[in-house]
């Protein structure tokens, strides 16, 4: 990572590895991972719901673990493997979690959905799908104002059991 200081901001060059591709980007050191994904890489599937780490809409995977990308600086992610909703499909086939969300109508307006899906994929890896209550508890960092919550639990349950 190199940097150059100006009176008002510090520009940094960061190598972001997102969905298996490497993107060298030059940005202000205060740029969040969320803004870098959306504004620099034009990966707009990751959504901004609060920019305060309180809603989960911007959830992505960093080295396989879920984080809210609005609370991570892009510069801190240099060298990390980031997975966004755009990187979930394999060989053009949607991830089973994406398909289960559609089948169970685990979305309405769809704005929080990509964050929910990323969180749900991480949940499987965390082994937090032992019961519906456990799913509810560990999906409670992802707000859904349309309240697709019961259908989200059903979708995760189906994928976890398959």
């Amino acid at each position: 990572m190199s940097s150059a200081t100006t009176a008002r901001s510090t520009q940094v060059t960061v190598e972001l590895r997102v969905n298996g591709r490497t993107y060298p980007v030059r940005l202000d050191s205060t740029t969040t991972l969320l803004d870098a994904l959306r504004d620099e890489l034009h990966l707009t599937g990751t959504k901004k719901g609060c920019d305060q780490g309180a809603c989960g809409a911007c959830t992505v995977l960093r080295d396989g673990k879920r984080i809210v990308s609005c609370l991570a600086l892009a510069a801190q992610c240099d060298g990390s493997e980031i997975t966004t909703i755009e990187g979930l499909a394999e060989d053009g086939h949607p991830h089973p979690m994406q398909e289960a969300f559609v089948r169970h109508d685990a979305l309405q307006c769809g704005y929080c959905t990509t964050g929910q899906v990323m969180s749900a994929v991480a949940l499987l890896r965390e082994g937090r799908t032992g019961s519906d209550d456990e799913i509810r508890e560990f999906m409670s960092g992802n707000l859904c104002r349309c309240a697709a919550y019961p259908n989200i639990v059903a979708a995760i349950r189906e994928v976890a059991d398959s």
């Binding site: 959504k47 719901g49 609060c50 089948r103 508890e137 707000l143 349309c146």
Partner: protein, 709 residues
Amino acid sequence: MTATLAKENVIGRPIDRIDGRRKVAGAAPYPSDFDLPGQVHAALVSSTIAAGRITRIDRSKAEAAPGVLRVLTYDNAPTLTDPPQNALGSTMRRPLRDDRILHYGQHIGIVVANTRAQAVAAARLVEIEYAEEEPVLDIDDPRAAVEDNPFGMASSRGDVPAALAAADVTVDGTYTIGAEANSPMGLFTTVASWQGGRLVVHDTTQAPSFLRVALAVMFEVPEENVRVLIPFLGGGFGAGLRLWSHTVLTTLAARVLDRPVKLVLSRPQMFHSVGHRAASRQRVQLGADRDGRLTAIDHDAIAANGLGDHLPSPIVAVTPSTYACDNVATHERRAHLNIPFTGFMRAPGAIEAHFALESALDELADQTGVDPVELRLRNYAEVHPVSGKPWSSKALRDCLEVGSERFGWPGRDPAPRSTHDGDQLVGQGMASATFEFYALPCTVRLVVDRRGNATVRTAGTDIGTGTYTITAQLTAELLGIDVDQVRVVIGDTDQPPAPQSGGSGLAGALGAAIQDAASELADQLARLDGHPGESFASLLDRHGLDELEVTGYSDLAGAATHADVAPAGAFAAAFAEVGVDEDLGLIRVRRLVSVIDGGRVFNAKTARSQAIGGAVMGIGMAMLEELAYDPNTGRVANGTFGDYLVPVNRDVPDLDITFVGEPDTFNPTGSKGLGEIGIVSIAPAIANAVYHATGRRIRDLPITLDKML
């Protein structure tokens, strides 16, 4: 020829929503996802006081900041024309009109810069000085200007004072509800671009056709020169029904700079920029005989309203239609306060009225010893209580009976504090709901091509309710084609005008317009001498036509004025079980049964999602949500998702959703709308359950821990 839905091959089936795959892939474009070539970014300057005047503005530091292109405040901005009134009441006060500050967070300037970060940073450098006044923030403040609701909510039948005086039993209760923020997940966004004299605007709106008219008037351009695009919205729950100042300011900045300008509200700004459910206080007086038959209802309501703002959002409007009762009077007032403008929030008015009425009915059940379900059946309005006409459909009785059965209501011990489960007191409560018929005119264009595919076009949008999907299902059903042969083009005002997605009125109006178009198409096909069972493809081919285009139109409200039935809205009943830990004041909803008569259900899967969404938002209203204003400064004190609590996944109890009833006989498609009915009876059912659990009647929402101690 009238196209009919008799076959029901496609309609009603629980197919996956047709836009679902795009949404789970992150490929559905919301307004904040649009970036235009040459686009620059805006940030707002918001008032830090709630009342007073601006005495000095210094833009110089902001103008000198890196990347800044323009700073607009009232004293240097071009003057706009006032926005027109529309079917939803008055639009907001024109922004940057003068030096007056009416509420905290009022948008008093807009800064445009090359990047969003530059704009946000520079907005903080605009120096404003104020002559501050003491804000009026409470509906009980004697300084508040109070007026009768200008939309004519006062009504009277019979002689209420005499009936109350003569009643065997009376109930007199005062019910208050805190202000609630709609809080859709999507941050409201405007991306405005002037191309010559033509405006293209991506905007988070539930009412694209209204927005088009408003912008055309304000910017003095012909309506056809304004295009509003909103294919995916990111939630609204009513927040997107009004014209908001950030939309106007962004459009203005784009015009001044002659460049595309993008503005995304921050989450804290969402709490004071896009409306809220007004705080309200109601008094309900009931008179009844010893058997619980209502002889009088007097319903008085007062709600907060912004200064200089006039919004119908009527609370008592539904009351005369709810129960068979000879003597009913309603009164409604507005207190104008230094608060951010109120707006519409899911089932506006109806939900407030039902909290008061259904709580009062529970009190009447308690006093008379009549079971709450039986009490509602004894006062059942078999015909419309105002017009005396038969309902176009009403299965509220089924809602009550099916709900009672599914919940296991019979045999409940009516005595408060009668059931324990470990440390918890357990209570069961119920409430019913009557929702009013509502519709505005709608136009669609329907095209069928030589391959037998159809395209439906209308300006209305899908806010997550499933409009894309039910439009495709209805069209497929009426035309006898497959759902995947239907393309749905909506959320674009270059298409025929449609009503807002609000008031539970779009599905019915749009469905009727699609049916009208399908009927017109059938007439055209008949003129082409089609053989029975002949496909569109064959028929068009035979006549050397590439496609057929027809227009469909509905005006259900117009038709309602001379109908011999009373057009019905949806009905519902909810049954709730709560557990209360009295030592800690903790309340938990353990299970909830919701039964809904929405007429014909177009898609069982998306309809169920609407009912779930309403139920959960109802839990939020009952137990969590209240927008807090600092009583001294009028500042929104809890404008973040860390402070303003909305229900999370863990808050959702065991939910049981059932639909009952038959297709409505007034709406040609049989629909009555489902977007709002699912929330209406939830809060009173929970409040009544809390009473049953604890013996404490909480008449003030939300029922937070402090009210239980």
